[in-house]
Amino acid sequence: MIFHSLDFIAFFLVTLAAYWALPLRAQNVLLVVASYVFYGWVHPWWPVLLFATTFVDYWSARRMNERPDQRKAWLWISIVSNLGLLGFYKYFGFFADNIAAAGAALGWHVPDVTLRVLLPAGISFYTFQSMSYTIDVYRGHAPARTRFIDIAAFVSFFPHLVAGPIMRATNLLPQVERPRQFSAAAARDATVLIVWGFFKKLVIADNVGVIANKVFALESPEFFVLWAGVFAFAIQIYADFSAYTDIARGVAKWYGFDLIRNFDHPYLATGPVEFWRRWNISLSTWFRDYVYIPLGGSRRGPWRNAANIMITFLVSGFWHGASWNYVIWGAYHGLLLVIARSVPRSAKREGGLLRTARVLTMFVFTCIGWLIFRETELNQLWRDLRLSPVASSALGRDAGLYLFLLAGLYSLPLWIHDLWVEFGDPSLVTAVDAEEAEVHWRRVAMQAVMCGLMMASILTLRSQTTLDFIYFSF
């Protein structure tokens, strides 16, 4: 089931009404049932995989608790089963194709063993989340739970099941286990988040996504057209992914849960280090805590640190998709980070001009990364990276400018929002995670007006072409 459908809105309202009428235990049962219905709405066999993941990790964690001498074995069972499932569905075709290609290069015939199975949506997200539970139990950061239904609710919680944010057991499980109370203030902020999410998805991401798709469908786009398309994709992926997490956070809030913020205005980052503190925060911190730090982090000298960063980013790139361009994208960002870390920066706060220059430079580097990310054909990528602005025709320049302005026009509210939150008064437009002591009526009035405007924009400007959330395919 997708968020931007009336099916989902009906599902949400019915489930919500039943949810708040039930006691805690029954609420968790309802959440699990609702989550499995949500996940199996289009492909009824997908919940089977979800259940298998949940059961293996629940059982592994319990066995770790009951048999401390076998803790390591049960951890490996959890990791192998999760990564095995992920590998089978996501990477089997990639490895089979590459082995076949390597065999062909050596003159060997390797039979075609391509799987004709659909990648289950969100499998990369929920396997990582579920795996983090067993790792945390193994490390002693979280106790093994005895109630299966709580673990099932933690793994399958539908608002963030398909595209995150990836929640840690130490954060979400206590919320699953403790009694929850309906908060009108949280529901109000949740509504703002949901409407903002829908606006970003339907008005911004889908409209600029059409531009990006058209440009990346061209055989030989000229320089300005190509980079206007990359700019459009940069907006699309940010608006699209952050929209999903905003809707997820908003929906979760209505059920009394707080999911972590996954984006913190990443295109206002002044460098690679800051960018990764602002972009897909839940995944970045997951890789930091479960890959980078276990590899040794920065504790073993600068060379080893650089190697650890590169390994972490290569794995992160590969996590995004079974294709070489994602691996190159990971390597590119790893390299940026290694270089950035090796350059000493002044501890003094930067002035406006320097900061603006840094933000713009980082945005250009990010866009180069998005070109690598979006372009799955390596030959085409190589061609694109060598394009010269000088060779562009007059029509190519005008077309590029038009596409750039169009993408800029649709994304204007996103830029204004991010700049406002970064430099203005964030309390007016962001959700308040803590309970309010009193209602700030000026803020509420602003929220009501903004929601009305966004709703009117959704109705009049939503793209005629509805695109799937990009991160569904990861």
């Binding site: 009108a184 109000r188 077309a399 400018l401 309010e436 405007l453 400007l461």
Partner: protein, 345 residues
């Protein structure tokens, strides 16, 4: 105020603030009605497709065209888009078949247009001697999802078109068509969209000519990557399921109308542009679809002909795309009259 009284008051205030935000969300778009009301232009009229369109300025039904058809009192009617217009010369066909033939052509028109033209200009137009209607189409055009751009059907639509409205509502909006309809009526967002969306999309171009050049030159079909074209073909192939699509199309309604009015129908699938080596390639899925369509149409008493692979239609007859040259049109009409003489009996 003690603790619990304070908490109660706070909860009340928070509840009120929630209601305000929900009210803002739902009431905000009502402002579109005020914007629409202040718009200059033609008078707003109820749409003939109320489930999918709010009241908007519309062109009236083309009474002159209806009158012209009545004056001719045709025996055969050719209906379609430019594929029909560029193939059949009605006057030539009239001479060759010794019947009265007219063409109801509209360039780039969807099946919904053909359906309404057939219903309102032929079946329900007080014609005494109509014997047959011939529809020209490409590939799966007869059963693809009914697409209707606002205004495109105005000249052939009456004030109410319940069958088309029902089909569009079911097909596009599913079980929630009532919710969509209520939202359309309440907010009138379609009308705002009609001027706002083009404004946003054209403003950055500066001139319509530049936008035209971008669409026709920068993003021309032959500039697409090959795999994109292959993906498009694959996506189309995936939708080529006649049993699933025919029920969601206007084809059964066209056949029903024709049977009711005792009008014979013929459906002619035109050949896409051939190559220099012969007829164009078609996928196995498309071929199967065409076979299924033939079986369906013949099973419902219609006449069916597939131009695909016809040796009388070499590449030399074609101008641009799937269109024929002027000479090609003459030759096609002549061959059409000869091949399908039985239909005109």
């Amino acid at each position: 105020m003690n603790g619990s009284a304070f908490a109660k008051a706070s909860a009340g205030q928070a509840g009120l603030s929630l209601c305000l935000v929900l009210a803002g969300t739902l009431a905000g778009p009502l402002g579109l009605r005020a914007i629409n009301g202040a718009l200059p232009g033609a008078a707003v009229r109820d749409s003939y497709l109320p489930s999918v369109e709010t009241p908007r300025p519309r062109e009236p039904f083309d009474q002159e065209a209806a009158q012209a058809v009545r004056e001719v009192q045709p025996q055969f009617v050719v209906i379609g888009d430019s594929m029909a217009g560029i193939r059949i010369d009605p006057l030539q066909l009239s001479r060759l078949t010794r019947t009265r033939v007219i063409g109801l052509y509209q360039q780039g028109s969807p099946v919904a247009y053909w359906y309404l033209a057939f219903k309102n200009l032929v079946v329900n137009n007080d014609l005494k001697s109509v014997r047959g209607a011939i529809f020209f189409f490409r590939d799966d055009q007869l059963t693809t999802q009914v697409q209707v751009a606002p205004g495109s059907l105005d000249r052939v639509a009456l004030d109410r078109e319940p069958e088309l409205d029902r089909l569009l509502a079911t097909e596009r909006l599913g079980v929630f068509s009532g919710v969509h309809r209520a939202a359309r009526v309440a907010y009138q967002f379609d009308r705002t969209r009609l001027w706002l969306e083009p404004l946003i999309n054209t403003a950055p171009a500066g001139s319509p000519e530049l936008l035209q050049a971008i669409n026709t030159e920068v993003f021309a079909l032959d500039k697409l990557r090959k795999f994109e074209a292959a993906d498009l073909a694959a996506a189309t192939d995936a939708a080529l399921d006649l049993p699933a699509s025919v029920a969601r199309s206007l084809l059964p309604e066209i056949i029903r109308l024709a049977a009711q009015a005792n009008i014979r129908t013929a459906f002619v699938r035109v050949q896409r542009r051939p190559t220099s080596d012969g007829p164009p390639l078609q996928s196995a899925a498309l071929k199967k679809y065409a076979d299924d369509l033939k079986t369906y149409l013949i099973g419902h008493g219609a006449y069916y002909y597939d131009d695909w692979g016809d040796p009388d239609e070499p590449l030399s007859l074609y101008a641009d795309g799937d269109h024929l040259t002027a000479d090609g049109r003459v030759r096609y009409t002549q061959r059409f009259a000869e091949k399908h003489a039985q239909f005109f009996q």
